[in-house]
């Protein structure tokens, strides 16, 4: 009689207590992902050989390559081959094909079209990328696999368990999708922890803080605000709210749109990603600078734009206002005045934006804490929780249901079974009855959200309770029980209690992966038995090197005349050295040779840029001249 909406085959913990493998904390972000390990209550970000802790959440599927490429290398590929690259996949986690329309304008990926649908709710979104069809779960699994490998390289031992953070506002299907991705990446999820809770953990343990804390988390693609009570090692979430479709990416998008509008011409879909990347850099620079110059070069036209901080702030003000409104609503929900807070914690790179800091300070009535890097704080907290779960600890996290859970009743209305901000784990039951004589089945539709009507909320699952013995209307007693476990995952059971007759439940999940799809993916990932970590990293270095050579070749074809024979010789030598390195098996050598070629090519790149600017400027002068002549 149990209906599992979440993935039902729970993996039992393979090893208890001490083991040869490590348990890490993972921040699987929209823009960036990080992995951290905590030992004796001291968490640390695990970095690559170059000291880089961030893995951009970007995956490239290159034609002719078995292994996808993840992180910085994939990001560089994005400029040249945007159609082969997936970014911000977190926004699609647990989304059904029906949701895509809602997100439409925000997607840089091409959604796979299965052809005319069968009229049902549709399954999980799939993406067309680099000539393949992949699901968001598979893409996330690649990021997790990369993080796992990074951790294994850094620690010199296996990593098979993790605490993974999710936005507090992630709904049930997105949480399930995250668990599925971890499973594909060979990681057992010890616990899904909400990002704001993890951030509070990173701050709280450090200083033995007590009192009420607000966590303002403006991630790449989601915004959460949570209110926590910290007391003697207990982290109790009192209320949480936010916006699952608003993030730092939207600040970039607002600026990018402004720049494109300023140019006054249309932009091809393929040019959007580079402009977004430029906007993002400009946003970051405007944190310290009062104004920045931005160069755009697409559609056969190069333009330069000046953006002042005030202009940028005017562009993003409506977005920031949405976050502060949500923050005010969370305080109100919990019946807490801003003055009662002991501190405000910032999470997410976009909280470096001065306007965001100022507005947070205004709405909460105090300057936010900022001494832990807002990009790292979530992963550090996750690592602490992973240690607490495997080694034991005195801290305790008590979390809540972020969104109300209920059932559709007559007329498309919603009956809330578990209201939002109810502490988890929780189990609540509601009794229903039949409304027709002899009714033998009842359709049960599970929804999540705060609105009154079904169609304004998120549909989680539909199933039919069949086999109800014939009775007069109103005589059957059908008890529907909602159970949310400590990960925030929901299970729904339905039983006809009156007669004790065994009834039958048919399950039809609206979204997420079916067991069969999951099985296929697991099998596939085992079949292409993963090359070991070193091979994979070597492959990435080679891909990066190949990109550089290709870019250089095309530049030389156009502007080769800018170089003297001697300079050209230097570049050719560096290139030959890189090709030799690529034929070898040593990753470090490939990276070093790539850097050497980049260095050798730098004066050339600078001269090309000058030439392009001159071309653009002379164009301007000619047109001005023309307009003057006409005016005269």
């Amino acid at each position: 009689m149990l209906l599992d909406i979440h993935e039902p085959g729970q993996t039992p913990l393979p090893h208890a207590g001490e083991s040869d493998t490590a348990a890490v904390g993972i921040d699987l972000g929209t823009t960036n992902s990080l992995v951290a390990l905590s030992l004796d209550g001291k968490p640390e970000i695990l970095r690559d050989a170059l000291g880089d802790g961030i893995v951009p959440s970007v995956v490239a599927y290159l034609e002719g390559e078995d292994e996808p490429v993840v992180g910085r290398v994939a990001m560089r590929i994005m400029e040249a081959e945007p159609e082969a690259v997936v970014a911000s996949v977190k926004r699609l986690m647990g989304r059904g094909t029906g949701d895509v329309a809602v997100l439409g304008g925000h997607l840089a990926q091409k959604i796979h079209d299965d052809g005319p649908g069968d009229g049902t709710e549709g399954g999980m979104v799939k993406l067309d990328v680099g000539g393949r069809v992949v699901s968001p779960v598979e893409v996330s699994a690649e990021i997790l696999r990369t993080l796992r490998q990074r951790a294994e390289m850094a620690l010199g031992k296996g990593v098979d368990r993790a605490v993974i953070t999710v936005p507090a506002y992630f709904d049930d299907s997105a949480r399930t999708a995250t668990r599925d991705a971890a499973r594909l990446a060979g990681l057992e999820v010890l616990r899904l922890v909400n990002e704001p809770t993890a951030a509070a953990l990173a701050y709280g343990l450090d200083r033995g803080a007590e009192g009420l804390y607000a966590v303002y988390d403006l991630g790449g693609g989601t915004f959460d605000v949570s209110l926590l009570k910290l007391e003697k090692g207990v982290f109790q979430v009192l209320a949480t709210g936010g916006d699952a479709a608003l993030g730092g990416d939207d600040l970039d998008r607002a600026l990018a749109q402004h720049l494109i509008d300023a140019r006054g011409d249309a932009i091809a879909a393929g040019d959007v990603k580079p402009v977004l990347a430029t906007a993002r850099r400009a946003k970051e620079m405007l944190t310290d600078a009062e104004k920045v110059e931005v160069d755009l070069d697409f559609g056969g036209k190069a333009t330069r734009h000046v953006v002042t901080r005030a202009e940028f702030e005017a562009l993003i003000a409506p977005l920031v206002a949405r976050t502060t409104e949500a923050a005010g609503a969370v305080l109100h929900d919990a019946g807490v005045e801003a003055g009662a807070l002991s501190g405000v914690v910032l999470v997410g790179g976009s909280t470096r934006v001065p306007l965001v800091r100022a507005e947070v300070a205004r709405v909460f009535g105090r300057a936010p804490l900022g001494d832990i890097d807002p990009d790292e704080v979530v992963a550090l907290g996750a690592a602490l929780q992973a240690e607490a779960l495997t080694r034991g600890s005195d801290t305790l996290l008590l979390d809540v249901v972020p969104l109300s859970l209920g059932l559709e009743t007559m007329g498309g209305l919603i009956e809330k079974v578990i209201p939002r901000n109810t502490p988890i784990p929780v189990s609540r039951a509601q009794d229903f009855t039949t409304y027709q004589d002899g009714q033998s089945a009842m359709a049960i539709h599970v929804v999540q959200g705060e609105r009154e009507m079904v169609d304004q909320n998120r549909s989680l699952a539909r199933f039919v309770l069949a086999g109800i013995p014939p009775m007069v209307a109103g005589a059957a007693r059908i008890r529907v029980t909602f159970t949310v476990d400590a990960d925030g995952l929901l299970t729904v059971t339905a039983r006809e209690a009156g007669t004790g007759v065994e009834a039958h439940v048919e399950v039809k999940p609206s979204y997420g992966l079916s067991e069969e799809e999951m099985g296929d993916m697991l099998r596939a990932s085992l079949e292409n038995a993963r090359a070991d970590v070193t091979t994979r990293l070597l492959a990435e270095a080679r891909v990066d090197a190949r990109r550089l050579i290709l870019a250089l070749e095309s530049a030389l074809a156009v502007d080769g005349d800018l170089l003297s024979a001697e300079e050209r010789g230097g570049i050719d030598d560096a290139r030959a050295a890189l090709e030799t390195a690529m034929a070898g098996e040593d990753r470090e050598t490939v990276i070093a040779a790539t850097e050497a070629l980049e260095t050798a090519g730098r004066p050339f790149a600078e001269r090309r840029m000058d030439r392009n600017i001159r071309r653009a400027l002379s164009g301007v002068e000619v047109s001005r001249l023309e307009s003057r002549l006409q005016a005269g």
Binding site: R322, E325, A329, L389, D394, L398, L403, P423
Partner: protein, 205 residues
């Protein structure tokens, strides 16, 4: 009520030895939760008068002991038991911390459940009259000052009703307790309506 807990076995669910506590003294294994009332579950006295700070301490202590995070490394059986314990502890805390839910629960334990559910009808004419007066006042209130004034009166009357409930339960006067609990239920409803009217822009979902 919500989850049917298994009877506490006399013998340990893990090693088979005799157990007196939720955690077996011999093998340290967690036992399934027993069928005890919410007060016993949190280890506080059964009474309407509850000290919120003491209740919270008892709640934290219980979760510290039984929360699934404490049993992440144990076997599937103990994990399930801890999930059941933690669920019941949350239910107990959510019930006892709320003055109206606590009154309802105590009346249930006494075998005198409060009539009606959420959409209850008030049969007592005096209560009905008072409820209607409140409703009218709320409908007529327009300025923030007027609404704030109603909120103040509501808080004051809620305090009176809670005190009266304490007295009624202490004297085991269940008729009065039912009367006061019904009064409290419409005050609570009014309170949530008032809160909606004062909400600063609804959270986006």
């Amino acid at each position: 009520m919500m989850v049917e807990p298994a009877e506490r076995p006399i013998s340990c669910a893990s090693c088979g030895g005799e157990v007196a506590d939720a955690i077996c003294a011999a093998c340290n294994a967690l036992q399934p939760p027993g069928q005890i009332d919410h007060f016993a579950r949190l280890g506080v006295d059964r009474s309407y008068a509850v000290d919120p700070a003491a209740l919270e301490r008892a709640y934290f202590a219980a979760q510290r002991r039984f929360h699934p995070d404490r049993f992440a490394g144990r076997g599937a059986k103990e994990k399930t038991f801890s999930l059941q314990h933690a669920t019941l502890i949350n239910e107990a805390y959510e019930t006892l911390r709320d003055p109206l839910a606590r009154a309802r629960y105590l009346l249930e334990l006494e075998g005198r459940p409060l009539p009606g559910g959420d959409g209850q009808t008030i049969a007592d004419p005096e209560l009905l009259m008072a409820a209607m007066e409140w409703r009218e006042a709320l409908e007529e209130a327009e300025t923030p000052d007027q609404i704030a004034d109603i909120a103040r009166r509501l808080v004051a009357e809620t305090g009176e009703v809670e005190a009266a409930l304490g007295t009624a339960f202490a004297a085991h006067d269940l008729d009065s307790a039912i009367h006061e609990a019904l009064r409290l239920s419409y005050l609570v409803k009014l309170g949530s309506e008032l809160k909606r009217r004062r909400a600063p822009g609804l959270a986006r979902i």
